[in-house]
Symmetry: C2
Subunit: 138 residues, 2 copies
Amino acid sequence: MSQRRYEVVPIGWVESPLVDRAEAPRQGDEGAPPAWLVFEPEMADAIRDLSVGDQIIVISWLDRASRDVLSTHPRGDVDRPLSGVFSTRSPDRPNPIGLHRVRILAREGLRILVSELEALDRTPILDVKPVLDPIAER
Amino acid sequence: MSQRRYEVVPIGWVESPLVDRAEAPRQGDEGAPPAWLVFEPEMADAIRDLSVGDQIIVISWLDRASRDVLSTHPRGDVDRPLSGVFSTRSPDRPNPIGLHRVRILAREGLRILVSELEALDRTPILDVKPVLDPIAER
C-alpha cells in the first residue's frame, strides 16, 4: 500500500509581506501579519459564503519545506532534545501541510484578507474549513 | 500558477470498524469509535514521541470523496440552503483533506489507538500534529 500517491491542486495562493522563512513567526499568534488569500477564479462558488468575521482553518502546502526530515529540535532550538516530527509543528515533514486558524478581516471578490497568517508569500492553499465550535450548532 | 501540482504520500492508514460512508458519523464527537492508526515502518522515527494521553490532529486523505463539488447542503440536509464547500466540513471538496482531533489511547509499536475517529477503514493518513494550546508552553 505504500506505493500509493495522491495529487493535490492549489485552490489559491498566499500574498504576504513574509518572504524569508528565517524571519517568519513560528505560529500565527506570535506576531504574524495579516495576509491575502487569493483564490483561483474557478473556486468562486466554493468561497462564496466566507464572510468577514468568520473563523476559518486555512490548509496550506508549505512548498519550501524539506520532506525527508523525521526528527527535529522543537522550534529550531538545539538546546531542546530531538523529537519525532509528528510531535512538533515543524514545516519540515513528509507531507508539509500547514494548518492556520485565522479570522476573515475583509473580502474583495476572489481575495480574502485574514489575520495573523505565518505562511510565506506565494504559499499554495489547499483547503479552507470553518472552525467547529463543539458547543455551537453545526 | 494554477497548473502546479503536488504529490502527497501516505504515512500510514486507518483501521476502523467504519466501512460505509453513509453510516459514518459526520464528526468524531458524534459517536465515532476508536480506531487504529497504522504507520509505515519508515515513519518509526517520526512517531517515536507520540504518547498515550496526547491530543493530536490527524490529517487524512478522504479517498472516497468527490473532488468536483463546489457547493453542498450542510450535513447533507437538503432543507438547508446550498453553501460553498469551504464554509462546510463536507468530505467532498477539491482537495479532500480531513482534520481529526483525537486523543491517543494506546500504542503498540507502529500502531496507535485513538479516540473518536470518524474516518473510514483504510483511509490514508498524511500527517499528525500536536494540538497547540495557546496558553501552554510551546
